[in-house]
Point group: none
């Protein structure tokens, strides 16, 4: 069963009740892996009470202190967003996100990221995501409670895994191996180093150019094979630049 | 708009927080009509706090003392049930229930009925329903929190009313300028030339590597700005390779 590879990540949750409700929503839909980034209060009685029959999930919850720790071994990261921000990123429906997560979870851990109660995810966090997902809602009041949003996404995942009709499996995707967040980070470091060697990056405009490049790379989502080829190119550039 | 004719009915709710959460879930999905049959505590601070931006729904909630009063003007009543009981009754999926409710709401009030937190609906209440609906869930722990169940049904109703969930909005794309095919071709030529300069491409494996790179570039679909930046990188590489 691949559902255990689907990780729910909650950032800086303010109300512990929402953590309990999330655990219950997850267990109802067959998920079990919950990560909390710097929760305000956890463990907490309110979380325990709202979890009801899902205490096992709370007991096995992983508390971390940064987004990096929560996602570094994941090959796919989808972030939830109430509204599209200033920068472009593919937006998937809840249903399509569920399909993608369930499919890629066959190969290893994948993450679904939820922001703080009032603010949602920050731009910097959203930039770390391969896709954004948006739950369609009433424009007069589109802000769902975080555990309700988790409930809906988990429901769609369960439907996809167990539903009959909706199973449009992305078969062609099944054999593709994506690199982990960590591998991509190492690539980004290598890229930056190389661009410094060629003189393209200098201290003046370095920050912005690297951000653009990382955004571009995240959008393309290179496969593991492709990433290796790109690193080969970087090595060849460093050689002619006399740095290797 | 027919959504105002879809009535959520909660029977003998024990935790007032669930009433507030239900109101919020309803408003998020465009519903507004909430009926409570003999709630234990209402109004209540916990309900108010959990309702967040949906206080108007709590203020307009109708409290009644019997199921009859809650449904007597309705042409369709659907009851939620965790598991099918001893007597036969058609069971609809959440999605089919949503479609039925939204369709019949064009003609007048329809009701969706939720039981008490621990017990769900009693047999006598279920008998009053035209259909039952069951949210598919993990058989190890299928009992959803009542407001979570309301959230899922309301989500399916909103999805039905507002068309396919698959509306992949890439609104932010609107201001993006993409390069022409010609510009992309020139870029590909420049890339090939550069990779030859660094020695990465040689006559032996050149074809396959270039094909892979072009496929990758096509997938990413760089914007015009990004393509210019990439050409800047290529120039900087050619310079260190002593070819420019």
């Amino acid at each position: 069963m691949s559902l255990e590879n689907i990780r729910i990540v909650m950032d800086q949750t303010y109300h512990p009740g929402n953590i309990g409700a999330a655990a219950r929503a997850m267990k109802n839909m067959g998920l079990s892996s919950l990560y909390l980034i710097n929760p305000r209060c956890f463990p907490d009685d309110e979380a325990t009470s709202r979890a009801a029959g899902a205490l096992d999930i709370l007991e096995n919850t992983t508390v971390v202190s940064s987004l990096d720790e929560a996602i570094e071994d994941c090959s796919l990261v989808i972030g939830t967003s109430a509204r599209s921000r200033s920068f472009p990123r593919p937006v998937l429906s809840a249903k399509d996100s569920a399909a993608k997560l369930a499919t890629e979870a066959n190969q290893g851990p994948v993450a679904l990221l939820f922001g703080r109660e009032r603010m949602g995810l920050e731009s910097k966090q959203l930039e770390r995501c391969h896709f954004h997902t948006e739950i369609p809602a009433n424009p007069d009041y589109p802000i769902l409670n975080v555990s309700s949003a988790i409930q809906i996404l988990c429901y769609e995942i369960w439907q996809y895994e167990n539903g009959e009709s909706l199973r449009v499996k992305e078969e062609s995707e099944e054999n593709v191996v994506y690199p982990s967040v960590k591998e991509v980070e190492l690539f980004n470091q290598h890229l930056e180093e190389t661009l410094r060697d060629t003189g393209f990056l200098n201290d003046i405009h370095q920050g912005e150019a690297m951000n653009r490049l990382i955004r571009l790379a995240n959008r393309v989502r290179p496969e593991q094979k492709e990433l290796r080829m790109l690193r080969g190119i970087l090595n060849s550039i460093q050689e002619v630049a006399g740095k290797k």
